[in-house]
Point group: C2
Chain length 230, copies 2
């Protein structure tokens, strides 16, 4: 399958690598291709610059947001929260319609220092904004509640944990479920919470996630919901 | 030890029962004693009216918020979110100073229908409001991330789960830890997240909690944080 990934940060790179390893065709999109290729230093997470990363992932193509969105039959939003709506606007409405869009982005505002706050919350969510702006797209919020390395390798953790799906289109959620299972997620660990408004819950879990990262001094953890046996 | 519980709903009743069974002296406080005793029907959760409940828990005394706060060496806030600040005001500043106050309340607004929204969130929390208003009290947010029956009986669930502590006073958090352990919580399952501002995280977990309740059709579940082995 052909995937377009919007965002070349740690989430975009990790998802692109995984999809490419699984045999998919992947184009990773950025706002400014020349600027992205010109970077020569590691990012804040110690990831190599895009040019170096592309050498090690030679099957992945680099494109603009528009090119990646045009290329992908299925799109993944891996931008930082403030970049999400501009990236989709650059992608172009026609390249989004009727496509499944997996939204991993979070409306986190780091501009006032740590810990970040949410710039959309409570009565709305970033996922809902995307769905409202592009009503013909099939937005599925997923994977935003964990670190990128857990997203693509849930077996990093010593027990099974959960990944949440939020979206209006059941078929789209089933497609995303299959992709998650190809990443190593068990079907029973994928929780379909309901329509896209349930993304308010998964986005508002970020404040505790960020604080727990501080508590544990590692981002390699995840939420597991333990339910009473009926 | 002498406990004052503010709030006679399902959380207040369940905590009062447990503390009383553990041999503590408990007074449960309400805004209007006569009105509370006059109720004759079950509440929304199918709990018996207070008068009937008191017959079955004869060691627990009923008082006003003021009386319960005066009685307790340690206080528990088990009101609904909108009732928290008024209950503390009725309790009286002098009855709060230097006492440990376990805050279980959540700033949930059900007035616009289901699912509820948060009336304080993101850049503030109810726990912080309490601590700011009563700087001499030792506020510890705890147990607000789960159903009352799980709070007092974590073994209801088939695996260990987590309870979070948020508060500025380490000694107070240690006292609360001991109480939680007497409820059946293992020491390693109690996560001290840090100062009172970390309550933003535990309060903002409520939106996903409420949606998961809808998904699972049972409130008897809890969060477990699974961390990579180092």
């Amino acid at each position: 399958m052909k995937f377009g990934i919007l965002g070349t940060g740690v989430v975009g790179q990790t998802i692109a690598e995984k999809l490419s390893q699984l045999g998919h065709m992947v184009m990773i999109g950025t706002r400014d291709k020349q600027a992205a290729l010109a970077k020569s230093s590691k990012d804040n997470f110690g990831r190599p610059p895009v040019s170096e990363w592309l050498k090690n992932n030679s099957k992945v193509q680099l494109g603009t947001f528009t090119e990646a969105a045009e290329f992908g039959e299925l799109l993944v939003i891996a931008t930082n929260g403030f970049g999400t709506m501009p990236a989709l606007e650059a992608a172009g409405k026609n390249n989004l319609s009727r496509k499944i869009i997996i939204d991993i982005s979070n409306p986190l505002d780091f501009s006032k220092g740590m810990p970040p706050t949410l710039f959309i919350s409570n009565t709305d969510s970033l996922a809902e904004q995307i769905q409202r702006t592009y009503p013909e797209a099939k937005v599925v919020k997923a994977l935003n509640t964990m670190n990128a390395f857990v997203m693509t390798n849930p077996k990093l953790l010593p027990e099974s944990t959960n990944v949440f799906l939020n979206g209006n289109d059941s078929e789209a959620k089933n497609e995303v479920k299959k992709i998650l299972m190809s990443f190593g997620w068990s079907e029973q660990d994928i929780i379909d919470m309901g329509d896209i408004s349930t993304a308010r819950g998964t986005e508002q879990i970020l404040p505790i996630w960020v604080r727990l990262w501080g508590t544990f001094q590692t981002p390699i953890f995840n939420f597991k919901i333990v339910i009473a046996k009926s």
